[in-house]
Amino acid sequence: MSLLDPVRRRAGVRPPLPAVASPEAEARARQYWWVNAFALTSATVALAVAYLAGARFVTIAQDLLVMSLALLVLLGSAPWVQRHGGRAAGASVLASTLLFSLGAVWVTPFLAPLAVLALLVPLMVTMPLLDRRLLVVTTAVVLAGVAVVSGLGEWRRAASPVPSSVGPVVSLVVFTPMVVGVIAWVVLDTYRRLEAQSAELRASREQVVRAADAARRTLERDLHDGAQQRLVGLSLRLGGMRTLVEAGDCDAVLRSLDEAVEENIAAVRELRELARGIYPAVLTERGLVPALRAAALQVPVPCGVDGGDVPRYPENVEAAVYFCVLEALQNATKHARATEVRIEVWDEAGPAFRVRDDGVGFHVDEATRSGGGLAGMEARIVAIGGRWGVASAPGEGTSIGGVVPSEPR
C-alpha cells in the first residue's frame, strides 16, 4: 500500500495519502453514467418503436435524430470514461444532456422545464469530484445551458406555435419517464448515502463519548495514585515535623523539610505530566510541529520528527492531528514493540501527517474491526472532515497517516 513507500524526502515528494476524492463519489459518478446510458437508450428505443408502429410525425423523427446523436456522444465517450473515471463520466453525461436538451427543446419547446431539470443533475452528481476551478467552469456551463434552453423554448414556442398534435405528446410520454427515472435514481441514491453517513456519525459519536469517559477514568486513576498520594504523604510529613519541633530535634526537622520539598517537587512533576497529557501548552502556543517534537522526546524509543514549514491551523484541527499522532506513538511503542518511530508532518492544503514504525505490525482488517485505538484515531480525524488511513501487516511495521483539509489560521 502507498503508505508504506519509502519516504522520498530529498526530492520533496510525499507518498500519496488516501485518494483526494472519496471512492464513493467516484463510483457514484460512474453509476450515474450507466443510469443515464440506460435511460437514454430505452427512451430512444421506445420512441423508435412508436415511430415504426405508425406514429410517423415529423417531430418524432427529429427527436429521434437528436436522441441518437446524444446517445452517440454518450456511448462514444465510454472508453474515455473508463480510463479517466468519475469526472469524465460527469463531462460525458453533461455533453450528451446539453446536446439532447438543445435539440429536443428546438423540436418540442414545451419540453424546456424537463430539459432544465435534466441539465442540473450532472452538476449535482459530480460536485464532490471537482476542485474549485472545475466546479466554477462546470457551473458556468450548466447555467449557460439552462439559460439557452429556457430562452430557446420560449422563442420556439412563440415563433412556431405547435398545433395540437399527437407527435409532441408521444415525445413527452417517452421523455418524462426518462428524466424522472434519472432524477429519482439520484434522489434515492443521495438518500441512501445520507442514511449510511448518519449511521456512521452515530457510531463515531458513541466512540467519542466512550473515549472521553475512558480518558476521565484514566485521569482520575493517575491523580489518585500519583499527585494525590504524594500530597497526602506531604501532609503526614508536615504533621510529623510538628512532633519533631516539639521534641526539639532540629537536625531531624531539617532532614524532614528537605524530604518534603523533594516530595512536593515530585508531585508538581506528576501534575505537570498530567496537564501536558490533557492538553499540552506548547501545542496552543507554538503549534503542531513543536508540540510533536516535545512529545517525541518522551517516546521511549528513537523518534524523529520531520516537519518543515507547517503553518498554524485552527485549534481543533491541530488538536485532532496531535492526539491522533500521540495515539499512533502509543500503539507503536506499547503494542507494536517498535525500535524506531518516525513522525512526518507537512502541509497539503491542511495538515498531513504520517507515523511509521518498524514494529511487529498487524492485520489491518482484524484490528479495525476490533475497534479500540485505530477506530478512535479515525473518528477523531473524520469528525473534523479529514481522511485517515493505516497500512500494516504482520512483520511489516505500521504506517498511520491522515490529512485534514483546513485553511491556515
Binding site: L4, V7, I265, V268, T284, C303, E340, V341, R342
Partner: protein
C-alpha cells in the same frame, strides 16, 4: 542584587518574596503581575535581573518569553530568569534563540530549593545561562535513544559533564558538584566538546546555547529511512 519579580499567581508571588527575603544580598525592587507591568517596572527600577513567570496576563500565553525577547533589545545587559510550569525544550530554545547571555529557564518547583533559585538568579544577573536540569535530562535521554547516537561516544562521566554544561554550570561549579579538580573538569569538558564537534568556548552561556541546540537537534532527528 536588585530584582524585579513578575508573577500573576498571588500564592507563588508571596512565596517567592518570602523566600528571597531570606537572602540579604537580594532586594526585590519591583513586583508586576502582567507583561506591560513587568516592562514598566524594569523601566522604573533598572534592576540587575528579572524573575518572571512564563504565563501571565494579558494573553496567558508565553508572556515571560516575550518579555525576555523584548528586554534583549531594550536592555541587553539585563538578566532574565524565567520560571515555568512547562518542561518543554521548545520554550527554552525560544528563550535563548537570540542569545543565551543572561537568560535562564527554571521549572517552578525549584522555588522549593531556595538556594538553587538564588544561585540561578545570581548566575543570570552575571550574564550566565541556566537551563533546568529536567529539560536537559529529557534532551539527553532522547538523544541517547538514537541507535547511532553521537552521545554513545561519551563515557558516563562525560555524559554527566555534558548535562552540567548544558544546565549552565561553570567549570568550577562542575568541579564542586563532581568532587574533582578544576583541571580534571577542564579535561572532561574539552573532551566532550571535541567528541560532539562543538566549539571550544570558555564562555559558559555560549556553551549552554551550543549544548542545548545540539541536544535538541539530535534528539528529534532520528537517522533517515530506518522504519519503512
Amino acid at each position: 542584587m536588585r530584582v524585579v519579580l513578575a508573577e500573576d499567581g498571588e500564592l507563588i508571588r508571596a512565596g517567592v518574596l518570602t523566600l528571597l527575603s531570606g537572602f540579604s544580598d537580594v532586594e526585590v525592587v519591583g513586583v508586576a503581575t502582567d507583561l506591560p507591568g513587568l516592562l514598566r517596572a524594569v523601566e522604573e527600577h533598572d534592576p540587575d535581573v528579572v524573575l518572571t513567570d512564563v504565563r501571565m496576563p494579558p494573553d496567558h500565553g508565553d508572556e515571560g518569553i516575550r518579555a525576555a525577547r523584548e528586554l534583549r533589545r531594550t536592555r541587553p545587559g539585563l538578566g532574565v530568569l524565567v520560571l515555568t510550569q512547562y518542561a518543554d525544550a521548545q520554550y527554552a530554545l525560544d528563550l535563548i534563540a537570540e542569545g543565551s547571555q543572561g537568560r535562564g529557564y527554571l521549572l517552578k518547583e525549584r522555588v522549593g530549593r531556595a538556594r538553587q533559585l538564588v544561585d540561578s538568579l545570581r548566575a543570570v544577573a552575571r550574564g550566565g545561562s541556566v537551563v533546568d536540569e529536567t529539560v536537559v535530562e529529557m534532551l539527553v535521554e532522547a538523544g541517547r535513544r538514537r541507535p547511532d547516537s553521537p552521545l554513545a561516544r561519551l563515557t558516563p562521566r562525560e555524559l554527566e559533564v555534558l548535562g552540567l554544561v548544558a544546565t549552565g554550570y561553570t567549570n568550577q561549579a562542575i568541579a564542586e558538584q563532581l568532587v574533582v579538580t578544576d583541571r580534571a573538569v577542564e579535561k572532561h569538558v574539552s573532551s566532550v566538546l571535541n567528541k560532539l564537534e562543538l566549539p571550544q568556548d570558555s564562555q559558559t552561556h555560549r556553551r549552554v546555547a551550543a549544548a542545548i541546540v545540539y541536544l535538541s537537534e539530535i534528539g528529534e532527528t532520528a537517522p533517515p529511512g530506518r522504519p519503512r
